[in-house]
Amino acid sequence: MDIIDTIKEQIENNSILLYMKGSPNQPQCGFSAQTVQAVMACGERFAYVDVLSNPDVRANLPKYANWPTFPQLWVEGELIGGCDIVMEMSESGELQTLIKEAAAASAAKQQA
């Protein structure tokens, strides 16, 4: 499958998706570490893609997203932001609301 199609599918099929360097337990970059911590603190399940072990995604997602760096948080098909935006949203409480709503919407969809 074309790498862009793979990326589109990942974004479409995972309502809360974090592209990061390393894994949630072993982040390989300080920006990814802060971001994944903020997402985990919301207490909902989320998907992640380690771009260090997926070089095709790392090379192609920035152009598709119009966003040059990692991490990237995507919620319900929309780019929310990188570390700086996610941390600011976490401090203001916006992140928690967004993640909770996305998790609830995706649970409702699965039940329907």
Binding site: Q28, F31, W67, P68, T69, C83, D84, I85, M87
Partner: protein
């Protein structure tokens, strides 16, 4: 011209910021001395009024596209309207410590 100067000049001209601070944070990461790879930008501009955060960042990425395609590997952005800046008491969060991701790069490449 130094990459840092390029970034400063480009942003100064395009954003007309009330406050602009460009910091080279490369020394905090596992790159050779005097590298220009990791930067942090704090900018306060009236142009950000009414713009979502993602849109503000994408504007900067667009302005600095050639630097990002070239030497710049990480760009931390703290972008505020004058009112937001005032309510933050004129401060932005510092960048996190490096965790050695480029070491993983070497292993993977």
């Amino acid at each position: 011209m130094l990459v840092q100067q390029e970034i400063e000049t480009q942003l100064q001209q395009s954003l007309e910021p009330l406050f602009l601070e460009v910091t080279n944070e490369s020394h905090m990461h596992s790159v050779p001395p005097n590298s220009e790879t990791h930067f942090r930008v704090v900018a306060v501009a009236e142009q950000f009024e009414g713009q979502r955060k993602v849109a503000r960042h994408q504007r900067i990425y667009h302005l600095l596209a050639s630097q990002l395609e070239g030497p710049v590997h990480a760009l931390a952005l703290h972008l505020y309207t004058p009112a937001e800046w005032q309510s933050r008491e004129a401060s932005a969060r510092p960048s996190p410590d490096c965790m050695g991701g480029s070491q993983a790069d070497k292993e993977n490449n």
